[in-house]
Structures are given as structure tokens and as C-alpha cells.
Amino acid sequence: MNVNLIEIMSLPFMQRALLGALITGLIAPSLGIYLVQRRMSLIGDGIGHIALTGVGVGLLTGTSPVLTAIIVSTLGAVAVELIRERGRTSGDIALAILFYGGIAGGVFLVGLAPGKGSANLTSYLFGSLLTTSTTDLVTIAILGACVLAVTVGLRPWLFAICQDEEYAKVSGLPVRALNLLLAVMTAVTVTVAMRSVGLLLVSALMVVPVAAAQLVSRGFGGTMTLAMLGGVISAGSGILVSAGYDTAPGATIVLAAIALFILVAAVGAALRRRRRADIGPAAVCDPPECVLDS
């Protein structure tokens, strides 16, 4: 299989697929970490649903589905942000309507589009890395650079608004503008990842590497670095495995990320067990820090 794999990876379309996947693996966790920090891990999934309506609009009108997906998912992400800002309980229902409306709208519009069958829909739902053209790759790279500039460049601000929004307000940060910027970047990331893992699996690449990194990291900066590394490793190994076994690249990448999570969890648990055994049982429990006054 080794020679075979090298042969396959020397094909230009496989190299484009690999590059596209690596870029997605790098940027998705860098954005996803803020969603996880806010305990809104599934929002990426919802925005992915909404983006499908954008794809439908693109296919129906004959414009680039990537462009229309960005526009529609940006509108959707801003709507989600406005619902979150209000903080109403009914917001939960509003999100459900928005997300399922998005995916139903997409399927409906694709059906109306002339000569576009369900095969086309599948490529947006589950990714179509192997058909990545050079133009696609350039688009992915430019959008990816925009996302990274925001998620890494504005990290102290975004960390502050996701950690404690009221404190950020009293620090004089432009909280509303930053929230909207984060929403727009979520939409852009979803659209970029639509190509590689597909709209239904986008959220996995935003969340799973972050979850794996958290198992071993102590701080936010460390989690972010490790999550981005984990995303790149998952994307790279996923592409290689899918090339070797001829499986769907998007699904393989997501399974690789989950395998990485399980591996990190197992190694982490083993290390903790060994450390505990080294220290002995007496040190397991710290003396109480806080004693109740009578």
C-alpha cells in the first residue's frame, strides 16, 4: 500500500485535496475554541445547516455556491448572535427553527434547480475534496487567512468577550462589533470547511480537536495551539487514510479527529494513574482550603 499511497499523493488533485484539508484543519479549531468557550459548541452545526440554503440559492441562480453560502450563512450567524444577545429562553426554539429551516430550504431549492441531482447535494453535505480546483484552493487559502488573522490576531479581545462579556464591556471593548465579527468568521469557516468535510460534519472539526486539547492543557493559549495542531494532524492523516482505502475524505478526517481525542484521553488517563501511583494515595486529596465557620 505504501508505494501505492505515494503514487496517489503525487497526483495534483490529491495534493490540492490535502492542502485544502490542512487549511481547514488549521482554521476550524482556531474559531471553534471560542464557541466551545461560550458553551455553544453546536452553533457551527446550525450555521452549516443554514449555509445549505445558500448553496441552494447558488445552484438555482447559477452563481457560485461558495459565494451564496457565505452570504446566507453570514446572515444566519448574525441572526443567531442577535438571538444570543437577547438571552431569552425562547431563543432556543428560534435557533431550532432557523437551523431546520436552513437545511429544508437548501434541499427544497436544490430540487428546483435544473439538472442538479441529489449527487450534487451530497457533495456539499459531506464534502468533495477530490474535486478541489486551483481556484477553489485559492479561495480557501484567502478565506482561511482572514479567519486566522481574526482568531489569532484578536485573541485577547475575543478571549475577553467569550470569557466574561460584561467585564469586556466595562473594559471599553467594542463588544457588539466583536461578537458580530466572530459570527461572520464562523460563517466563513463553515463555508471553507464545506468543501473538505461538508456542512453536516463542519462542527466536528471545530469542536473535537478543542475537546482533545483540553484534556491535556491548562490554559487558553495552550488549548488553542494544541487544538490547531490536532486539527492539522486529523486532516492530514484523514486524507492519507482515505487515499489508501478509498473512503470518503470528509468522514475519514472527522473519524481521525475522534480517534485522536480517544487516544489523548487514554494516554492522559494512564499518565494520571501513573503519577498517582508514584506519589502514593496520601497526596491524592489536598487539605481543605475553605473551612465553614460555625
Binding site: 466551545v36 461560550r38 466595562v170 482550603e289
Partner: protein, 253 residues
């Protein structure tokens, strides 16, 4: 008379029902003002309105002599909320949380400069958490988390500290560390506005007390002294139900 640093004029706040009615509060430079009152009296709402976190239905707020709407000098204010924000989905170290206290001074975010790092180290030392800087905040006790939030506010080197129930549910050691940090802050010319349910070791530092009852200011002046069983040492001040009738912070007397 020192210039006012925080002023609420005829402030009114209403959610479903009125929470604050025609409240007037002036905090002058160098003062240490405690806002006291029962649960649900509106004391937290009052200071949150003073920072623009709660919109006023009527009245005005001025910070350092500037109307809230036009106020931009946020680095002069250090805010300590009741508890750590909801953004706990990802671990953050004590150092990272305290460093965000520098944001109001830093402008566009870049790397921390030497001055920033120094201020963070000083703030950590002031609340006695230097050795925990690299630990995740989630691994700290409630009192240590509260001290982290105070260090975050101190790191911005503010002129006015606004604290929302800084000692609620905090162990004795943390209360002492907090009182010491506050004394140092005041000695260097700082102004303090804090909400409290009980004063504990803070009492000697307070220069003025404002008692909020049922949405209005019921007392503004000297710190009221506890009477009856409230004055007993070790009295644990707990209201199972916030009293509605007596306009006193010490409950029924």
C-alpha cells in the same frame, strides 16, 4: 470637596416591575463606599446601572464628570463581578484571566509589553496568588477565584474599583487577603464602590455606607452598627427570605 468619580442622578431601573426609583448617588475621589441591603433590594442593580451594564429607564450617570454615553476612559475603572463569567468551556489560567485586565490600557491587542507583565505580576502578588498564576482558574476554590477577579481589576491600575459582593461565600483567608489588597489600593489614592451583604473584615476600611431598601436609598452616611444577635461574633448573616418591611440592612430588630 473631592471631585465626583461616579454619579447617578435620579436613576430609575425597571424590568417587569420597578427595581430602582429616583436614586441619587455620588461617589467622590478617595471614598470607600459600601452599598448595603437585603437580597433583591436593588443594590447590585444600582452599581451595574452606574457602569452602564443595566440601562436606566430615567436619569443620568456620569463617570469622572463625563456622561456615560460619552465616557471612553474605561482604564480608570476596575470592575469585579460577583463571579467568574460563563465562558468556562475552555480552561484558562489565572495569569490569562488577570492579563485581560490590561485590555482597557492596551489598545489594539498585541503581545504583552513589559509594563503589562509587571502590572499583572503586581496584581497577582496583591491578592497572594502569584504561585497559582499557571493553574487553571477552575481548579481554584471560590475564594481564590474571587481574588483572581480582583487581581484582574487591579491589573488595569484603575482609579475606581467597583466590586459586586466581593466577599459573598468567600473563606476567611481570602477575605483577609482581599481586605489587605483593598487597604493598599485606598492608601495609594484609589476610590472604591462595593456592594456587600455583610462587611466582615472590610468594616474598618469603609468611609461611607449607602443602604438600599426596596429600590430607594434608605440611608446614606456613617456605617450602621449591627445590633442584637447580629453583633455577636461569628454571626452568620443569612436571610432565608428577604424581609420586605423593616428598612434596615440588619433584618428585623
Amino acid at each position: 470637596m473631592n471631585p465626583p468619580v461616579l454619579e447617578i442622578k435620579h436613576g430609575a431601573v425597571a424590568y417587569d416591575r420597578p427595581v430602582l426609583r429616583d436614586v441619587n448617588l455620588t461617589v467622590r475621589s478617595g471614598e470607600v463606599v459600601a452599598v448595603l441591603g437585603a437580597n433583591g433590594s436593588g443594590k447590585s442593580t444600582m452599581i451595574r446601572a452606574g457602569l452602564g451594564l443595566v440601562p436606566l429607564a430615567e436619569g443620568q450617570v456620569e463617570l469622572f464628570g463625563v456622561a456615560l454615553r460619552r465616557f471612553r476612559n474605561w482604564q480608570r475603572i476596575g470592575y469585579v463581578p460577583q463571579r467568574l463569567g460563563a465562558g468556562g468551556g475552555v480552561p484558562a489560567t489565572v495569569g490569562e484571566v488577570v492579563s485581560s485586565g490590561r485590555l482597557a490600557r492596551r489598545g489594539f491587542p498585541g503581545l504583552l509589553r513589559a509594563g503589562d507583565r509587571q502590572a499583572v505580576a503586581k496584581a497577582l502578588a496583591a491578592v497572594d496568588l502569584t504561585d497559582r498564576a499557571h493553574d487553571p482558574v477552575a481548579s481554584l476554590s471560590g475564594g481564590q477565584q474571587q481574588r483572581t477577579l480582583i487581581a484582574r481589576a487591579l491589573a488595569g491600575e484603575p482609579d475606581l474599583l467597583v466590586l459586586d459582593e466581593p466577599t459573598a461565600g468567600v473563606d476567611a483567608k481570602s477575605q483577609e487577603a482581599f481586605a489587605q489588597a483593598l487597604r493598599d489600593f485606598v492608601r495609594h489614592g484609589g476610590t472604591v464602590l462595593l456592594v456587600a451583604h455583610e462587611l466582615g473584615p472590610l468594616q474598618p476600611v469603609i468611609t461611607r455606607a449607602v443602604v438600599v431598601h426596596d429600590g430607594v436609598i434608605a440611608h446614606d452616611g456613617a456605617v450602621p452598627h449591627p445590633t442584637g444577635h447580629h453583633a455577636e461574633p461569628g454571626h452568620d448573616h443569612v436571610h432565608p427570605h428577604a424581609p420586605q418591611d423593616p428598612p434596615s440592612i440588619w433584618g428585623r430588630e
